[in-house]
Each structure stands twice: as structure tokens, then as C-alpha cells.
């Protein structure tokens, strides 16, 4: 907000290059999203959306927009995880850990990964599973090849139990309990026509996928969720992108966090242009045109020193608004050609490589909105389990899922530890009374 507009200035200019700003707003309004197609039952083509947030990449500004989530606020856990996720974008973290990588890699255990943003991360100690945790990744887990997954190789010793997608019809527990397959890809993009058909069938078809949680931080990984981690070669889209690909190694976020964001907002050195990322602008933006044309507003306040030496050509073309305010020294030496072209109101951080806008650097992706979260990332959590030997009772304290309106819970008891065997599942006992609506019945999706 500018002074003089009748509004009070809330953000001092002298903090703009040293502070990040997080705006918790009701909803994120966006123009037509290219990832939403007519065949999906979800439609976010109109504003406001249910996107969880967006951030500069990198930069100083982020928004958390959970007003269209449950209770108009989402749960405190999702608020925390989304804030950390969007902050990560401003500090140069991506959904995959590296440029061009894929979202939802099981070997990237980070809140930046959609697999873990809403559902959280879990540690496993023996047979004890932690409450969900929000964290950036802490290690470089090995690369994976989706066409040739070796269950026995696992991922080594992990900081957290991982998570992945498995075919619904090979997942022992999902098939037994007749759960609902995912209705969006993990990155939020819509399913293909064939995938959607299989997901909505009764029973679901071979292309239907379901999210699966690991129960160990070491050893073999049961990628196909058939109850045994013993298959030497499994071909499976564990990241549920719609294709089986090579998944690069994970990264350690904590070693990659780049807290520098000076220049993250609009300024003369932001080296960017609308429609292209930082690297695109550098590689394609050189221009030898020899004119200067200012067709839009141009407002420069120099409150400090400003020293520019042009030893070569310098070409500026402003077709939109451009606002520069230097409160300190600024020194630019151009020893060669240099071209800055602002075709709109764009700065380094303002192309928004956050969670909504597809981009060349971060790879194509959808967005993590409420529908995506309900579609696959949703689960209740047993916070506490108290056994009363004399009364022969066990009391489960269950916390609601982080997305979606709960109609009913189904609690089960099986004999033995995990992994749960087919025999144990077949002999499962449903316990307690469905809550809060005993009359609520579950039907297969159409």
C-alpha cells in the first residue's frame, strides 16, 4: 500500500530486501488454469480457487490461502505445513528437490513434496508410529526407476517412513476394505480418461491407483502393496504422475535452503521478463536494439547513491508499469551488452513458480488444492491408544483427517504386527460404533 492512498503503510520499504512477508488470505484467485480439463469432475477454472498457497520462487512473498478448505481455515497442521511449503519456495526449494524433477517422489521426504504436505511425515520406532511431522528433507535418498523397482533394495535408512502410490487392485488393504482410488494425479493434475474410468469403476480397474504408507524407515519397500516386499522388479508409477519415469535422487533441503532474497521483488536488476523464468530471460533476453522506449509509467526515486557505468550497449523497454526505489547504494557496471525488457509487471520473484502456475523450471504440475488433498492425501490419525486389561477394552483417540468433512470412521483390529498379512486382514474385526453418523453408509463411487 502506498502512502497517500488514504491507507496506512504497513510494510516499511527498508525491510523489503531483508524480510519475507506471508499473507494468510481467504483464497487465491487465478485466471484459467491450464491443468483443469473438462473431463475432470473438479473445476478450478474460476476464481477463487481452493489452492493451498503460492509463493515467489525465489523471493520474499508468499500466500497461504486455505479459506475454502474445511471450516474456512483448514486444520492447524495444514496451516503450518503450507506455510513451511510456501516459505520453502521463497528459499529456492522445489517440489522435487531439483530443477525439472518430478513432484511426489517417494525418495524426497519433504514438506515441499505433495505426498507429505497435507499428510505429514512419520517416524517409526519398532511398532510405534509418531504423530505427523512437518519438515524439509534431511538426506539424499537414492534415485529410483519406476519401470524397474527393486522392492528388496528399498531406500536405505530413511529419516521418515516414505509414501507412494500403488495399483488399487494389487494393494491388499485397499482391495480388502474397498477404499476409493485417487481421483487426481499426485501433483493435482487431472487423470487421463482411461485412468478416470478405471478409478470410478466398481471394482476399480487396473489403472486405478491408491496412496500407500510405508511402515518402516529401513529395509525392503513393498512398492506394489501386495503385503510382501520381495519383488525384484516392479514396473509402477509410484509418484502417480501418469507415466513411469526415472526419479532422480532426493536432496537434502536443509543444505539447499537459500535464504537470500535480495532483489526478489521488482527492481532494475531482477533480470526477468513476463512469461519466462530467470534462466530463460538470461539465455534469451539479450537484444541489440538501440533504442529506449518508455511507453508505460516510469517512476524512479533515488534516495541514495546511484552509479551506472555503461561501457557497452544498454537497452531498456518498458511496456508496463515499472517502479524502482533505491534506499541505499546501487552500483551497476555493464561491460557488455545488457537488455532488460519488462513486458508486464514482472520481477524475479513475480512469475510465481509456486503451486499453481506451470513453469519450465519447476516442471509441469497441477496444484495442491482441497480436492487433491481429499483425493489421495487424506487419512485420520490414531493419536492415542489406551488398553485396559481388566476391562478388556482399548480406547482409540482418533484425530480427523486434514482435509474433507468426515461422515464416518471405520476402526479395525487385526492380529499380528505390520506388515499386515492377507490372513490377518481376512479375519479383521471392526470395532466401536461408526461415528458420528451411524446411519452413514459407504457406497462405491460411480
Amino acid at each position: 500500500v502506498r502512502e497517500g492512498d488514504g491507507l496506512c503503510r504497513r510494510f516499511d520499504h527498508n525491510r523489503r530486501y531483508t524480510h519475507r512477508y506471508a499473507l494468510f488470505a481467504h483464497a487465491l484467485g487465478l485466471p484459467a488454469a491450464t491443468t483443469n480439463l473438462d473431463e475432470t469432475p473438479y473445476d478450478d477454472r474460476v476464481t477463487p480457487t481452493r489452492a493451498s498457497g503460492i509463493a515467489d520462487f525465489p523471493g520474499g512473498d508468499l500466500m497461504v490461502t486455505l479459506g475454502r478448505w474445511d471450516d474456512f481455515t483448514a486444520t492447524p497442521f495444514v496451516q503450518a505445513s503450507t506455510l513451511m511449503h510456501e516459505f520453502g519456495h521463497t528459499a529456492y526449494l522445489r517440489h522435487s528437490g531439483f530443477a525439472g524433477g518430478q513432484n511426489c517422489k517417494p525418495n524426497y521426504e519433504s514438506v515441499m513434496n505433495y505426498l507429505f504436505q497435507v499428510r505429514g511425515l512419520f517416524t517409526v520406532t519398532g511398532t510405534s508410529i509418531s504423530d505427523p511431522i512437518v519438515d524439509y528433507s534431511r538426506q539424499e535418498l537414492p534415485a529410483l526407476s519406476e519401470p524397474t523397482l527393486d522392492e528388496t533394495a528399498g531406500l536405505g535408512t530413511m529419516a521418515y517412513a516414505t509414501r507412494w502410490f500403488a495399483p488399487w487392485e494389487s494393494s491388499l488393504i485397499d482391495k480388502t476394505l474397498t477404499t476409493t482410488p485417487a481421483k487426481r494425479h499426485c501433483d493435482g493434475s487431472p487423470l487421463s480418461g482411461a485412468e478416470l474410468t478405471d478409478a470410478l469403476k466398481t471394482p476399480p480397474g487396473p489403472l486405478a491407483m491408491t496412496r500407500f504408507d510405508g511402515t518402516s524407515m529401513t529395509g525392503a519397500i513393498d512398492w506394489n502393496a501386495d503385503g510382501a516386499g520381495d519383488d525384484a522388479s516392479v514396473a509402477q508409477d509410484i509418484s502417480f504422475s501418469g507415466a513411469q519415469t526415472a526419479l532422480g535422487a532426493g536432496v537434502n533441503d536443509w543444505t539447499l535452503l537459500d535464504l537470500r532474497q535480495v532483489g526478489g521483488r521488482r527492481n532494475v536488476a531482477s533480470l526477468n521478463a513476463a512469461g519466462s523464468g530467470l534462466f530463460g530471460a538470461l539465455s534469451a533476453g539479450l537484444d541489440t536494439r538501440d533504442y529506449m522506449s518508455v511507453t508505460g509509467g516510469f517512476d524512479v526515486d533515488f534516495l541514495g547513491t546511484f552509479d551506472v557505468d555503461f561501457l557497452g550497449s544498454f537497452d531498456l523497454e518498458f511496456l508496463g508499469g515499472f517502479d524502482v526505489e533505491f534506499l541505499g547504494g546501487f552500483d551497476v557496471d555493464f561491460l557488455g551488452g545488457f537488455d532488460v525488457e519488462f513486458l508486464g509487471d514482472a520481477g524475479m520473484g513475480e512469475n510465481g513458480l509456486g503451486d499453481v502456475v506451470p513453469d519450465a523450471v519447476n516442471g509441469p504440475h497441477g496444484d495442491l488444492n482441497l480436492d487433491t488433498a481429499i483425493s489421495y492425501g487424506n487419512a485420520p490419525h490414531i493419536q492415542q491408544l489406551v488398553w485396559n486389561k481388566q476391562a478388556k477394552t482399548t480406547t482409540l483417540t482418533v484425530r480427523r483427517p486434514h482435509a474433507g468433512k468426515v461422515l464416518s470412521y471405520e476402526a479395525y483390529r487385526v492380529e499380528g504386527g505390520f506388515p499386515i498379512t492377507a490372513t490377518a486382514l481376512a479375519q479383521r474385526v471392526q470395532v466401536g460404533t461408526p461415528w458420528p453418523f451411524p446411519q452413514a453408509t459407504r457406497r462405491r463411487p460411480r
Binding site: 481429499i374 490414531i382 471405520e410 476402526a411 457406497r443
Partner: protein, 45 residues
């Protein structure tokens, strides 16, 4: 939410898990049952 199992056998290793049935915002007549909780193991020995 509290759910009580009233007939717990002794001397067993037991695993509990919970499934949530949630409203499908795009079809209220077809709830979704996507999420299975993390497992909780109980030793009643």
C-alpha cells in the same frame, strides 16, 4: 473422536487402524474412503 474396542483378547499382538469416510464435494451421494490411518500396534501379553 473416541472409539472403544470392547472385546480385546489377552496375550495377543494386535494392530489397529482407522479409515475415514469423507464427503465427496463433487457428489454428495458417493462419499470417499481414501485414507487409512497409520497403524497402531498393541501387545496384550
Amino acid at each position: 473422536v473416541t472409539i472403544v474396542d470392547t472385546n480385546v483378547p489377552n496375550n495377543r499382538l494386535l494392530t489397529y487402524f482407522v479409515l475415514a469416510v469423507v464427503e465427496n464435494p463433487n457428489d454428495l451421494d458417493a462419499p470417499d474412503a481414501h485414507g487409512i490411518s497409520a497403524y497402531r500396534v498393541l501387545n496384550t501379553k
